[in-house]
């Protein structure tokens, strides 16, 4: 009896930690989405596609460098840059001409971008499943509470908070970050003091998309990289941003934690309907607090 209880507790703790590491990926992706949402006031539907491109780019880069550990670390650096380049091209060539237009048009543009990027990914990488090995350092698992826990998930648990701290330092300590935060609150005033608003938008958009790429690169060793990843993540990311409070980075963190942890406990308790649990959590949060848990910048 006691033994069964101990196993139960260990399983719960491991489930919690797995949920937490899943939440870190979600956080990295959604913090980017939230950043774009805060500054541009546009829910970027193409965010999921950029995450997918990040994962595919990570695969290609790691293959390019021999598929070993070095390949993985280089992929982690260069895949977000590839995504940043893609988003910069989309933003400067098309998106920036729409800033004066009605809001719905911006939303639809990002949807069109999602459709196009999705098919372009299929053209470039094909519809096969791809997988990446984690570097030697992060292979295998460690023993936690008497159960094996993958080292890679431990790595995610470290990198998530690092990204959060980095983003926080960036937005509160650097000039560019302060401008971006000001733009989120009052765009016109930022323009009035002589800052090029169009470039602030471009910068925010590219930074947000780069975070999507980083998330994609980080997730690539844990799942099989394939077409359709974009559809799965984007709805989750939107919901997380909504329950956290639009444009609020810490809100993205709280939302990701709720989402990741309910998801992994759902898998433990009722695998068939595991995907229902996070949605249910979102419904509960939005019913109790319609504008999200933390303060929205809108």
């Amino acid at each position: 009896m006691e033994g069964a209880q101990a196993i139960g507790l260990a399983a719960l703790s491991i489930t919690f930690l797995v949920g937490l590491s899943r939440a870190m990926i979600l956080f990295i992706v959604t913090s980017g989405l939230s950043f774009v949402l805060g500054v541009l006031r546009v829910p970027n539907v193409a965010h999921g596609s950029l995450y997918m491109i990040g994962a595919f780019a990570a695969y290609s880069i790691s293959v390019l460098f021999g598929g070993g550990s070095a390949g993985f670390w280089l992929a982690l650096i260069f895949a977000p840059l590839v995504v940043a380049l893609v988003s910069l091209i989309a933003e400067r060539s098309l998106f920036r001409h729409l800033y004066q237009r009605e809001h719905l048009m911006l939303l639809l543009f990002t949807f069109a971008l999602m459709l196009i990027l999705g098919d372009l990914t299929k053209i470039v990488w094909g519809a096969d499943y791809r997988s990446i090995m984690p570097p030697t350092l992060l292979r295998g698992s460690v023993s936690l509470f008497g159960s094996p826990f993958p080292k890679y998930n431990l790595f995610l648990l470290i990198i998530g908070p690092l990204v959060a701290i980095g983003l926080w330092l960036f937005s509160s300590r650097t000039k560019m970050g302060k401008i971006a935060r000001a733009a989120a609150v009052d765009m016109e005033m930022v323009g009035a003091i002589g800052i090029n608003v169009s470039w602030v938008f471009a910068f925010a958009f590219v930074l947000g998309c780069m975070l999507a790429g980083l998330g994609g690169a980080l997730v690539s060793p844990t799942i099989s990289v394939t077409i359709g990843m974009d559809h799965d993540i984007i709805i989750e990311a939107f919901l997380i941003v909504t329950i956290g409070g639009l444009g609020n980075m810490w809100g993205a963190m709280v939302g990701s934690l709720i989402f990741g942890i309910t998801q992994s406990f759902g898998i433990l308790f009722w695998p068939q309907f595991a995907i229902v649990f996070p949605y249910l959590a979102v419904v509960i949060v939005l019913t109790l607090k319609p504008t999200g848990l933390l303060k929205s910048v809108w």
Binding site: L115, G118, I235, T242, F273, I275, T291
Partner: protein, 330 residues
């Protein structure tokens, strides 16, 4: 009201089009009859969404769910029970309207984007259930070969059935929009604060609009079952919802018939682009139809933001539009 409708110039055109469509099976090959039926179903779906989006400015982001609920209810009742067909056909729209009411009650308190987001969340919940409940819904495979009552089982008879139901629904929707309720709804779209100030219960009106729109969405779902004889979770997926949204936009979301045109264009594109094999050196063009849809959408955003009908409408009735836009500003 009905008389007013008959006096309209566009009414004559509609009757002629309807007449031609009634005769279509006698001169068109079978594939095109099926293809037209698919367009009709999609058109009804897009029009029902436009009741909310175009005429009510309610950001119904996940309308596909109600279409799916209608289709699943009717399909499951036909496939798994021995109830007469008409009960299944009635149950579909009613279940959709009930779901619409339920989801609407949750969402209506929120403003635009939050409204859309909560609706996507609640809708995804329903999608997830349909996707995972293998015993009942067949999971991601769905259910195929649903027994359709004999009198509408053939391509031609189902075509007539869909066409007639579409005709009835279009007339009903037109009458609803021209009724005092419809006028109020459009007034709310144009200026919600002022409507609230003169004593209109804004939220309740919007909720009614959602229920009506979801009812017609459910009708479209039932018609889908009639035409295809199958149900699958893709009907409830949010990508479809955004596709319908685009149809409204493409056709012209401030016009009544715009969504029909939008649906016709998107369905034709999907069907015919899907059949293209190679264009010169580029192989398997048909696989990349979403790419083409995306490019079309971008062109639309840049050059025709009011949709095709919206553009034509302005060109043809410039004076009237000017008048109405002035009265809006007033």
């Amino acid at each position: 009201m009905f008389r007013e409708m008959i006096r309209q110039k566009s009414f004559g055109v509609s009757v002629i089009i309807f007449g031609v469509l009634l005769l279509a099976p006698s001169f068109l090959p079978r594939f095109y009859i099926y293809f037209l039926a698919v367009i009709f179903v999609t058109a009804l779906l897009a029009m029902s969404l436009n009741l909310c989006v175009g005429h009510g400015m309610i950001f119904q982001f996940h309308h596909g769910v109600f279409y799916g609920v209608g289709a699943y209810t009717a399909g499951l009742l036909l496939a798994k029970t021995s109830l007469p067909w008409w009960i299944a056909f009635m149950a579909g729209p009613l279940a959709a309207a009930f779901t619409g009411l339920l989801i609407g009650l949750f969402c209506i308190r929120l403003n635009r984007l939050y409204f859309g987001m909560l609706q996507i969340s609640l809708g995804s919940l329903i999608w997830a259930i349909a996707f995972r409940w293998y015993d009942l819904t067949g999971g991601d495979d769905g259910i195929h070969g649903i027994p359709i009552p004999d009198f509408i089982a053939s391509t031609t008879s189902s075509y007539y059935f869909v066409l007639i139901v579409l005709g009835i629904c279009v007339v009903l929707m037109y009458l609803i929009l021209k009724s005092p309720f419809g006028s109020t709804l459009q007034a709310i779209r144009d200026n919600p604060e002022r409507c609230a100030a003169v004593g209109i219960h804004v939220r309740r009106h919007q909720l009614k609009a959602i229920v009506i729109a979801t009812f017609f969405g459910g009708v479209a779902g039932v018609l889908f079952v009639v035409v295809e004889g199958s149900i699958y979770p893709g009907l409830l997926f949010w990508v479809l919802s955004l596709e319908i949204f685009i149809m409204c936009l493409l056709g012209g979301w401030f016009t009544f018939a715009g969504p029909i045109l939008g649906a016709a264009i998107i369905v034709s594109l999907r069907t015919f682009v899907g059949t293209i094999q190679n264009i010169g050196p580029i192989e398997n063009v048909g696989e990349y139809w979403t790419l083409i849809l995306g490019v079309i959408l971008i062109l639309l955003i840049f050059f025709l933001p009011e949709g095709i009908m919206g553009y034509n409408y302005r060109q043809l009735f410039r004076s009237r539009m000017k008048y109405s836009s002035e009265s809006q500003v007033e």
